[in-house]
């Protein structure tokens, strides 16, 4: 009994350690202008190079946009302002689907499908527990026999 209590204590300690480490891990210093500009560049699409981001592309336009973004960040504009300004002249320049309208489908579809699947499996499991068929029906026996004969 004593051993299992010590073991439980170990898990509690581990949990606390993980929580502390995670808090520390999120505490990076204040975002510099450059790191903010980098993250904006990653959200913008290079207007002339397929699906590449402004951050990844070395086309002339992308390099100009990078310089513009850095300047605007230093001028104190917010991320959304900067992106909106660029979208005025390059409408298709966000690499993220919009958080409204049709764009919500792109964000929500995988999540909704996942939740539905989990719910469905949960329901099936709950049904199994309520009605545990310990004795196989002749139907089941036949299926098992058939499966075995395939081998």
């Amino acid at each position: 009994m004593k051993g299992s209590r010590a073991r439980l204590a170990l898990w509690v300690v581990l949990g606390i350690a993980v929580a502390t480490l995670l808090v520390v891990a999120t505490r990076s210093g204040p975002a510099t202008a450059r790191s903010r500009a980098d993250s904006i560049d990653q959200r913008l699409k290079c207007p002339i190079c397929g699906g590449e981001s402004v951050a990844d592309s070395n086309s002339d336009v992308s390099r100009s946009i990078r310089a513009l973004v850095l300047q605007e960040v230093r001028a104190g504009k917010s991320d959304d302002e900067i992106i909106a300004a660029i979208q005025r002249s390059y409408p298709d320049s966000s690499l993220l689907p919009a958080a409204s309208g049709l764009g919500l489908v792109a964000w929500g579809l995988p999540v909704v499908a996942f939740v539905l699947a989990v719910a469905g499996l949960g329901a099936a499991y709950a049904r199994n527990r309520r009605d545990p068929r310990r004795v196989a029906s002749p139907d089941d026996e036949a299926l098992v026999a058939e499966a075995r004969s395939d081998g």
């Binding site: 299992s4 073991r7 170990l10 898990w11 581990l14 350690a17 993980v18 480490l21 995670l22 520390v24 891990a25 999120t26 505490r27 990076s28 980098d38 990653q42 959200r43 699409k45 190079c49 397929g50 699906g51 590449e52 981001s53 951050a55 990844d56 592309s57 070395n58 390099r63 990078r66 409408p91 298709d92 966000s94 690499l95 993220l96 689907p97 919009a98 049709l102 764009g103 489908v105 792109a106 964000w107 579809l109 995988p110 499908a113 996942f114 699947a117 989990v118 499996l121 499991y125 199994n128 196989a136 089941d140 299926l143 098992v144 058939e146 499966a147 075995r148 004969s149 395939d150 081998g151």
Partner: protein, 671 residues
């Protein structure tokens, strides 16, 4: 007129006819239960495969003899193209890539038929062959019709060709990456054909899974290696410092990988507990459909892509083929629906089978994310007539939680027993790995690395690897005690006792290494654009870079401007690196070639953006990319693990002295 073109055309038509005759005869034989017709139908495999090989040989002959009367040759090689890239030009463009596809497909068919020669009268095998014939017929038909590789030029025959796409004559990896990827893609045909055959014959028990276990694993291994080599090629050639951009072409290869990985895991539940039959059949049909969908997306020109692929009019063909595959798959499942009902059930939420279920849900969700992100812009365009793009930020955000959850499952699932578990057992088995995970997290945090995603990834990765090591250690120790073996032979015999399980654990180790490398390189890297005068030095993330000078090298194949940069880090001299821009005749676009210092912890990645200006200043992009080497190594470990899985299992050892079952946590179905 004899020549490579005539031979090629003849071979293509011959292959198509063989596939059609084979399919027809076999189909008739199966429908009429006439074993003589079935036997006759099987005989067309040999001529079909010969035709495929001849097509490939004809293409190489045409390329090496610079037969510019053939359009493909004129467009894809030039007199000055080096031998290696002349050889690889055979799959550098659409028509040629279909030849490669067909050659690999025929190789798979031939090997499968050899492997099943003793069961050639078996209806399952015959139906599978029929499906394979039909797939072959489709691809041969593509070459007869819309993508004729040996089509000739109209008008004057040029004296020199255009040469390959500049990006495809810059790095020897083009010789390996496409064949590997295709071997993965195409290999999925085999399990797919058996799944369809199982549905038709009504033998959807565990038989077809056992029959295609190796084929699925081989295809999956090739696909994995192909994807990793593709990332490597991007990194070495494209010059933006990254290796994965969630580009449609990349997603097209990743989608079937995700469903195939789910399949490899869920088949174990069916083998062990006879559950998930419909699900497994659906997964493999989905995998095969996704290979065709991927080919459609990348080859029909519906999606803009960084990868310069020639567009063509095979789009409608591929889409129709996709429709036929999905329709027949779904139709067969609906037809067999009642009989597919599975006899097994899940007894406990904390058990191996529910861990596999969770794994499958996560992989399916991952695939859905990638599919949504890839196809959604097309949907918006069709509905709203509005152009939108979805890129890396979307995929990164959506896949991070899924990836971390998968890492967690990978750590916990292998210690879960089948059916049910007591919490006490679980805590005991996970204790040491969990401590390792926390220590690893603390280690990176103390070193000053930040960021929630990568720190959790490191922790879970260590958690998982420690669990795998513990598993190996316990098994080896048990063998040493029981048989008085030394460590190395004990390890080897442990693996031999159940290659699938231990190989699987090695693959998991590779996945962890890859995951940590991805997390680290995405979060802890630095990228700067710098402008340097001659002999000027700049310091980036502790690395000193000095621009030494530039030079131009000309060859008939290309003209290359090289810029020499001396790289140092603290007291270490990394030497001189020379990023370059090359121009190829027949293309006015300069192609950058990055130069990379590969290091154990950090790569120094240099690409030349602008040639020296009037004041002699060059513009360079400098990336300090952490852990890149581990990404490639992780891929190698995954490949090695896959090979281990393929080692034939040794017949069962005397079980009486086998290590205690309690400690034998298994990845695979412990046979």
């Amino acid at each position: 007129m004899a020549g490579p073109g005539a031979l090629g055309d003849f071979a293509v038509v011959g292959g198509a006819v063989s596939a059609a005759l084979g399919a027809g005869t076999l189909g008739l034989g199966l429908a009429r239960r006439n074993s003589r017709l079935v036997d006759a139908g099987r005989r067309f495999v040999a001529p079909m495969c010969t035709a495929a090989v001849l097509t490939f040989v004809a293409m190489e002959w045409a390329l090496f003899s610079h037969d510019y009367a053939i359009k493909y040759v004129a467009n894809n090689v030039a007199n000055a193209t080096p031998g290696l890239f002349t050889f690889t030009a055979a799959w550098g463009a659409l028509e040629g890539s279909i030849i490669l596809w067909v050659v690999i497909l025929c190789a798979y068919v031939a090997i499968t038929m050899l492997a099943f020669r003793r069961r050639r009268r078996d209806a399952l095998v015959s139906w599978a062959l029929l499906v394979q014939y039909l797939v072959c017929l489709f691809f041969f038909a593509l070459m007869v019709g819309p993508a004729r590789p040996f089509a000739t030029q109209s008008g004057l025959i040029p004296f020199d060709g255009n040469g390959p796409n500049p990006l495809l004559q810059n790095h020897p990896l083009v010789a390996f990456h496409p064949p590997m990827l295709y071997a993965g893609y195409v290999g999925m045909t085999i399990p797919f054909s058996f799944a369809i055959a199982a549905l038709i014959t009504g033998r959807f028990g565990e038989g077809w899974l056992a029959d295609t276990r190796r084929a699925s694993l081989i295809a999956w291994g090739f696909l994995t290696v192909g994807i990793v080599l593709g990332a490597w090629w991007s990194y070495e050639v494209l010059g933006w410092g990254g290796y994965w951009g969630w580009d449609p072409v990349e997603n097209a290869s990743f989608l079937p990988w995700l469903t195939a990985t789910a399949f490899l895991h869920s088949v174990m539940v069916q083998e062990r507990r006879a559950m998930l039959r419909v699900w497994n059949i659906s997964l493999i049909i989905a995998t095969f459909s996704l290979t065709i969908l991927g080919t459609f997306l990348t080859r029909s020109g519906v999606i803009n892509s960084v990868h310069a692929f020639s567009q063509s009019d095979i789009g409608p063909w591929l889409l129709s083929f996709l429709g036929v595959i999905v329709a027949s798959g779904l139709g067969l499942i609906a037809w067999r629906g009642d009989r597919l009902r599975t006899p097994g059930r899940i007894d406990s939420l904390v058990s191996r089978e529910s861990a596999f279920l969770a794994n499958n849900l996560l992989f399916a969700a991952f695939a859905l994310v990638v599919l949504t992100g890839t196809v959604f812009p097309l949907l918006v365009e069709a509905l709203n007539n509005q152009q939108i793009s979805i890129g890396a930020p979307y995929f990164d955000r959506m896949s991070l939680p899924i990836g971390l959850a998968l890492l967690f499952m990978m750590a916990v699932a292998p210690v879960l027993p089948w059916r049910a578990t007591a919490g006490e057992v679980l805590r005991e088995r996970l204790q040491v790995p969990a401590v390792c995970g926390v220590v690893a997290m603390a280690f990176v945090v103390v070193l000053g690395y930040r960021g929630l995603g990568p720190v959790i990834a490191v922790g879970l990765g260590a958690f998982c690897v420690a669990g795998i090591v513990r598993n190996f250690a316990i098994a080896v120790r048990a063998r040493r005690r029981a048989y008085h073996e030394r460590t190395v032979p004990a390890l080897a015999r442990t693996v031999r006792s159940n290659p699938r399980k231990w190989g699987g654990l090695v693959v998991h180790t590779g996945v962890v290494v890859v995951a940590i490398a991805i997390a680290g390189s995405q979060s802890w890297g630095t990228r700067r654009e710098v402008q340097l005068k001659k002999n000027q030095t700049v310091t980036i993330a502790g690395h000193q870079l000095t621009y030494l000078g530039s030079s131009i090298v000309r060859s008939p194949q290309k003209a290359t401007l090289k810029v020499r940069v001396h790289v140092r880090h603290g007291g270490d001299d990394f030497g001189v690196y020379a990023p370059a821009i090359s121009t190829f005749p027949g293309s006015n676009q300069g192609i950058g070639t990055p130069s990379v210092h590969v290091g154990l912890l950090n790569d120094v990645y240099l690409s030349l953006i602008e040639a020296p200006d009037d004041q002699g200043r060059v513009t360079l992009q400098v990336g300090i990319n952490p852990l890149m080497m581990w990404l490639w190594l992780g891929g190698g470990i995954m490949a090695f693990g896959t090979l281990l899985c393929l080692v034939p299992a040794k017949r069962k050892q005397p079980d009486a002295v086998a290590p205690p079952e309690r400690e034998l946590a298994t990845v695979g179905a412990g046979t």
